[in-house]
C-alpha cells in the first residue's frame, strides 16, 4: 500500500531518525530537523521512533492514501484539512482512501511532520531512509518529493485515538532559549566575544537550510583569527567565521570544517531552534556538560509523558 503526492509543497522529504556511522566519510546523518516533533508524530500513530515520516517545510503537501491509515501532524502550525474539513494537529486520526489530506502554510514554525501508521517504506540506504538532499542520497530517489510521486508504506497494525497534551505543544511564536555548552574552540574568542553570544538574542536569517542556520546579531570577536586545523563538526555546533556571526550546523551539516566553533547547541534545544523563522530571534544560554546531561534526562522524561491515549494502544 502507498501514498500519492498531489502537491508536494516547497520542500517535503522522507526522514527517519537519520544515518549513523557515515559522517566519518563525509555523509551527514540527515534525519528530522526537529526530532521532538518527529518522534511525537510517530508515537501518535503507534510507529517505532525510527519509522520514516515526511518533513514538510513552510507549506505542506496534498496527499492521498491507497488504504485507510492513521496519521498525525506535528511541528509547525500548518492548518490540516481532510477534503476541506479541519482536522486536529498533534493528534492521531484516520484517513480513508480517496480523501485528500492537506497541510497548509505554516502560521508559526518552519517544519511540520506527517507520520503515517506503518511508516514510509522507501529503501534503506546506508541503514537509513533519511533524505540527504545535497548528496542525492536516501529517501525517495535522493530528492524532495514531486507531484505524482508514489511512496510505499509499511504494514500498519491499526491505530487508536491519541493526542499530545496541551502543555507539551510548543508555541513557535516567541523567541526560544537554546542552551549551549562552550567549546571546542571557546578559547579562540575574547571574553567580550563569548559574552556577546549569551548577552543578547540573535536573529534568524533567510540563509538557513537543512545544513545550517545563519544568525545575525552582535559581533563575536575572535582572538588569533577564525581559521583552525579542520576538525569534526558536531550536531548543533556554532561556527563563527570572519564576520563574527554565528552559524549553527544542523542535520545535513558538513562532517568537518576549518572555522572556530565557539559552542554547541544542546541536542534537546536544536529542534525548537529549527522552528525559528527568518526574522524571529533566539537567545543562547550557557550550560556545563553536567547540566546539559541533567537537562537531557529531564527532557526525555517529559517527552515520554507527552502523549495521552484515549484507549490502550
Amino acid at each position: 500500500m502507498n501514498l500519492l503526492i498531489h502537491d508536494p509543497g516547497p520542500q517535503t522529504t522522507v526522514q527517519d531518525l537519520g544515518r549513523r556511522g557515515s559522517l566519518r566519510v563525509g555523509i551527514p546523518p540527515s534525519g528530522p530537523m526537529d526530532r521532538e516533533a518527529f518522534l511525537l508524530a510517530n508515537r501518535l500513530v503507534g510507529n517505532a521512533d525510527d519509522a520514516a515520516a515526511l518533513e514538510c517545510t513552510l507549506i505542506g503537501p496534498r496527499i492521498e492514501f491507497a488504504d485507510t491509515r492513521w496519521v498525525a501532524v506535528t511541528g509547525a502550525a500548518m492548518p490540516v484539512t481532510l477534503d476541506g474539513a479541519t482536522m486536529p494537529r498533534w493528534a492521531a486520526f484516520e484517513v480513508e482512501p480517496g480523501k485528500v489530506l492537506r497541510l497548509g502554510p505554516a502560521a508559526s514554525g518552519v517544519r511540520a511532520y506527517l507520520a503515517v501508521a506503518g511508516g514510509v517504506d522507501t529503501p534503506l540506504v546506508l541503514g537509513s531512509r533519511s533524505t540527504y538532499l545535497r548528496g542525492q542520497l536516501g529517501g525517495h530517489l535522493g530528492r524532495a518529493l514531486r507531484k505524482g510521486d508514489v511512496l510505499p508504506l509499511g504494514a500498519a497494525s491499526g491505530g487508536a485515538p491519541a493526542q499530545v497534551l496541551g502543555q507539551f505543544i510548543p508555541d513557535y511564536t516567541g523567541a526560544p532559549i537554546a542552551r549551549v555548552v562552550p567549546g571546542p574552540q571557546d578559547d579562540r574568542f575574547t571574553a567580550g566575544g563569548l559574552g556577546a553570544l549569551f548577552d543578547a538574542p540573535y536573529e534568524m536569517t533567510t540563509q538557513t537550510d537543512r545544513m545550517g542556520a545563519r544568525l545575525r546579531g552582535a559581533r563575536i570577536e575572535h582572538v588569533r583569527g577564525h581559521d583552525i586545523i579542520s576538525d569534526g563538526v558536531a550536531w548543533g555546533g556554532i561556527q563563527v567565521v570572519g564576520d563574527g556571526q554565528p552559524i549553527v550546523l544542523l542535520a545535513d551539516r558538513q562532517s568537518t570544517g576549518g572555522y572556530t566553533k565557539i559552542g554547541t547547541v544542546c541536542s534537546f534545544d536544536i529542534g525548537r531552534l529549527c522552528q525559528v523563522k527568518p526574522g524571529q530571534r533566539v537567545s543562547f544560554k550557557q550550560v556545563t556538560v553536567a547540566e546539559a546531561h541533567d537537562l537531557l534526562r529531564a527532557h526525555r522524561g517529559l517527552l515520554d509523558q507527552a502523549i495521552h491515549w484515549e484507549e490502550a494502544p
Binding site: G135, S230, D231
Partner: protein
C-alpha cells in the same frame, strides 16, 4: 609542536566530545587519531555512537544516558595509551587515473606560471608523488591529502571559484584534494579523475578512506573518456592494493 603529552578532551555539546591529540598537521599525530578510532571500533567502546577522524583530533559522538563524561574520557584515555600506529591494519594504495589535459586541468598552466615551472614539470612532480589521506570529509568522500614535493607547494587561489566539477584534482598550500561533488573551491585544479569519489547509487558510495595512500597515473583524454564510460556502466574496478592482499596472492601463485 606535534603530539601532546596528554590528550585534550573538548566538549562539543551534550552528545559529542573532541579528543585532540596534537597541534599540527603531521602523519604521526594523524596515525594516532586513526589508531584511537580503530580501537574504539575493535573494543566496541560502550556508549560511543559514531566517530569522525580529522587531522589531529577524533570527534566522538556518544549517548550520555549510557555513558557519562567522566567514564567516557577515562576509557578514551586508556585506549589512547594503546593507540599506536602499529596496530592499524595495512594501508591500502589506491591508483587514481588523472587527466591533466585541456579543460580538465583548467588551472594547470596558471599554476605552473605561478610556480615558475613548465606545465609538464608540474604534472611530473604531482603524479610522481605518494599521497596520504588524513581523513575524508567536508563533502561526501573528499580526501584531505599531503605528499606533494615542496616545489609545487602553492598559495590558495585569491578568489575562490563558485563551482568546481567533481573529480577535480587540485592543490593548495601543502595539500592536495579531489573534489567529490560540485562545490566552491580555493585550490588550483590541475586535472580530473574519471573515478567517482562519491557515488550515491553505489552500495558503498565512498572510494577513499582515512589512512589510504593515493597515487595518480597520468592518462590522456582518450583513456580518461574510456574509463569514465566504464565507470558509468559499472564495469570499472578501481585498482586498490593492500600489502596483505598482495602477499596472499603471491602465496597462492
Amino acid at each position: 609542536m606535534g603530539i601532546y603529552a596528554e590528550p585534550r578532551f573538548l566538549p562539543c555539546g551534550d552528545q559529542a566530545l573532541s579528543v585532540e591529540l596534537g597541534d599540527d598537521i603531521n602523519r604521526e599525530v594523524n596515525a594516532r587519531v586513526l589508531a584511537l578510532e580503530y580501537l574504539i571500533q575493535q573494543r566496541r567502546l560502550g556508549g560511543v555512537t559514531e566517530t569522525v577522524p580529522s587531522y589531529r583530533s577524533l570527534l566522538v559522538y556518544y549517548d550520555p544516558l549510557t555513558v557519562g563524561w567522566d567514564q567516557l574520557t577515562r576509557s578514551l584515555h586508556a585506549l589512547w595509551r594503546d593507540a599506536q600506529p602499529e596496530i592499524l591494519p595495512p594501508a591500502r594504495t589506491v591508483e587514481m587515473p588523472c587527466c591533466y589535459e585541456g579543460e580538465l586541468g583548467f588551472e594547470l598552466e596558471a599554476a605552473a606560471a605561478k610556480l615558475g615551472l613548465a606545465p609538464d614539470e608540474v604534472v611530473q612532480l604531482h603524479s610522481g608523488a605518494d599521497y596520504y589521506v588524513y581523513f575524508v570529509g567536508f563533502t561526501p568522500g573528499l580526501p584531505y591529502m599531503t605528499g606533494m614535493p615542496e616545489r609545487i607547494f602553492i598559495p590558495r587561489l585569491e578568489q575562490p571559484r563558485l563551482k568546481t566539477p567533481p573529480g577535480s584534482v587540485s592543490i593548495g598550500g601543502i595539500q592536495c584534494c579531489i573534489y567529490s561533488v560540485e562545490s566552491p573551491g580555493g585550490f588550483w585544479v590541475l586535472g580530473r579523475t574519471p573515478l567517482r569519489l562519491y557515488d550515491p547509487t553505489a552500495a558503498d558510495p565512498i572510494l577513499l578512506r582515512a589512512g589510504d595512500h593515493v597515487r595518480f597515473t597520468a592518462v590522456g583524454r582518450h583513456e580518461y573518456d574510456a574509463i569514465a564510460a566504464a565507470v558509468a556502466d559499472g564495469t570499472y574496478t578501481p585498482r586498490i592494493e593492500t600489502p596483505r592482499a598482495s602477499s596472499a596472492r603471491r602465496g597462492g601463485a
